[in-house]
Symmetry: C2
């Protein structure tokens, strides 16, 4: 947290002084509110799911999806693991309008929260830059879309995609395609680049690619298009498990056996990987561990605002099940 | 909130007085902590996911599942819809040990939070009764397992199950079975009772039932057992969508077409209903609306602790898709 915010945060020294005097006089153990006025800290951080546009309610296609996505719960769970132990409250916030962004900045400036764990995947979301400009204590889940000076945790996306490529090559696949994620997101671009590079290194410079949107439907329709173009396809990498699950649906309808005719690898090791039939071979992203590290980084930065901007990158691993 | 807690909450009148005087003198707009000391309210409520036993971390089979379940995110989303508008913070807490329960009670007594939105599905969870004994402001998602005096929201479970029965009967199904949920949960018992009653009213007094555990695997293995016993089965009601999705896997492996050979109805209208192939006909539970109502009930009770214990029951509706 910067000096600018600290200056605003101590609402008035007279209040701090008055509370201190009253506590000393009465000998009473202060509650969180009293403690906050004395220490200038709230021992609360916000978990913010952010989207760029005004969307009135939970039908918001992004925000609604983010909250209903098991991913969100896994991040919350990992962060709580670290925060609960340290007595820090986790406040849930949905920020998808200019008014909500202003309110969040206001909370930080007034000292109502100490920092922000941020989930923001949309290229047009202005919030990450706004928080950086405010010198707020903030840690992002995943690399920022724009190259701004913000702390974050991520998985080594390119290495993960390379694991998928090497596995498909080792199985003897010769005609391999990919359904990638939205190319305006880091996960979309990096997983594509990592997969293409690794396939090229193994003598497969040409990989047909369809851009999907990380949904089951996107995987299903992407697979149909790929089968139209390349009926002899024998391997597929989908940039997340949900799209891989959708691809399995299309393959089944096309009469293709998995993995005998087409080997399929997903990414995330989410609940979709276990729900799919056959169960998915996939690249594991250690979401809970990443969220714990986010919380650790944030608390360290709240303690000491001179700490440098930090990124922590986790190693992906390949989980081999039945689809490849 | 009871008078007992209010008595403890005002940490000391001297503090309230001191803060009031300092605010009056400086004319400064107080932050949340200062406002809290003056009003005796924190404008924060907790969303608590509770389980009975000590479990060290996110591998906890219940808590881990609850957080990764899209259901949890939908409840959070609906509650935020109401709370954000009213300027109330939603604090996320995971309570799965005696120490965590004591800490939550402590937060309520010290006035660190104003009330609790509670998700607790396990019959052995002591937390609902503990909160009632503390006269805490609390609203439960779903009917309590034990008949205690606690406010809650629920869907009319029996009516929902009856909708499923009537739909299967109207399709001409004659050999109908059910995979029910754990019978020590209200949703498990009520959906079974509602389905059996409705089937009996329509001339089908005998319904084979397998008890499942609300998971995909449970649906798959339950369906295999039912097909063993009743190879000529032509209709199935699964007490949630995840089990229905599992049943579809087993039916496909057994060479049965859905809905031509076996019509399948689920319950919840969760994301699993859309992910299943064919997409599930299912009983819709308006989770977001129910969560909004939980928040409304809780805020009303925090405002006025003389309000009576209230339950609000939502009507289920049948969503017809491709599986029945």
């Amino acid at each position: 947290m910067s000096r600018v915010i600290n200056g605003v945060r101590n609402v008035d020294p007279a209040i701090t002084e008055a509370v201190n005097a009253a506590i000393a006089e009465t000998g009473y153990v202060p509650n969180r509110a009293a403690r906050s006025l004395v220490t200038g800290r709230t021992f609360s951080v916000a978990l913010v799911v952010s989207a760029p546009d005004d969307e009135p309610d939970f039908d918001d296609p992004f925000i609604g999806r983010a909250f209903a996505d098991p991913f969100f719960g896994r991040i919350a769970n990992g962060a709580l693991d670290e925060l609960t132990e340290r007595g820090v409250h986790l406040i849930l916030q949905r920020v998808n309008s200019a008014a909500a962004r202003a309110q969040l900045i206001g909370h930080l400036r007034q000292g109502d929260i100490d920092g922000v764990l941020l989930i923001s995947v949309h290229a047009l979301d202005p919030l990450p830059r706004m928080l950086v400009d405010q010198h707020a204590a903030v840690v992002l889940f995943g690399r920022p879309v724009d190259p701004i000076a913000i702390s974050y945790v991520d998985v080594a996306e390119r290495d993960g995609a390379a694991l998928a490529a090497e596995h498909l090559v080792s199985l003897g696949c010769r005609r391999v395609a990919m359904i990638c994620g939205p190319l305006d997101t880091p996960a979309g671009g990096d997983r594509l680049a990592g997969f293409r590079d690794a396939m090229a290194r193994h003598g497969h410079p040409y990989v047909p690619v369809i851009e999907g949107n990380f949904t089951l439907d996107g995987g299903e329709s992407g697979m149909l298009m790929l089968l139209d173009d390349e009926p002899a396809l024998d391997g597929l990498f989908a940039a997340n498990d949900l799209m891989a699950q959708g691809a399995l649906v299309a393959l089944r309808e096309a009469g293709k056996r998995v993995p005998e005719d087409v080997a399929v690898v997903g990414f995330d090791d989410s609940s979709a990987a276990l729900a799919a039939r056959p169960q998915l071979t996939t690249v594991l992203q250690p979401v809970e561990e990443m969220a714990k590290e986010m919380a650790r980084l944030l608390l360290a930065r709240i303690e000491d605002d001179s700490l440098p901007i930090t990124s922590v990158i986790f190693d992906p691993t390949l989980v081999i099940r039945d689809s490849a």
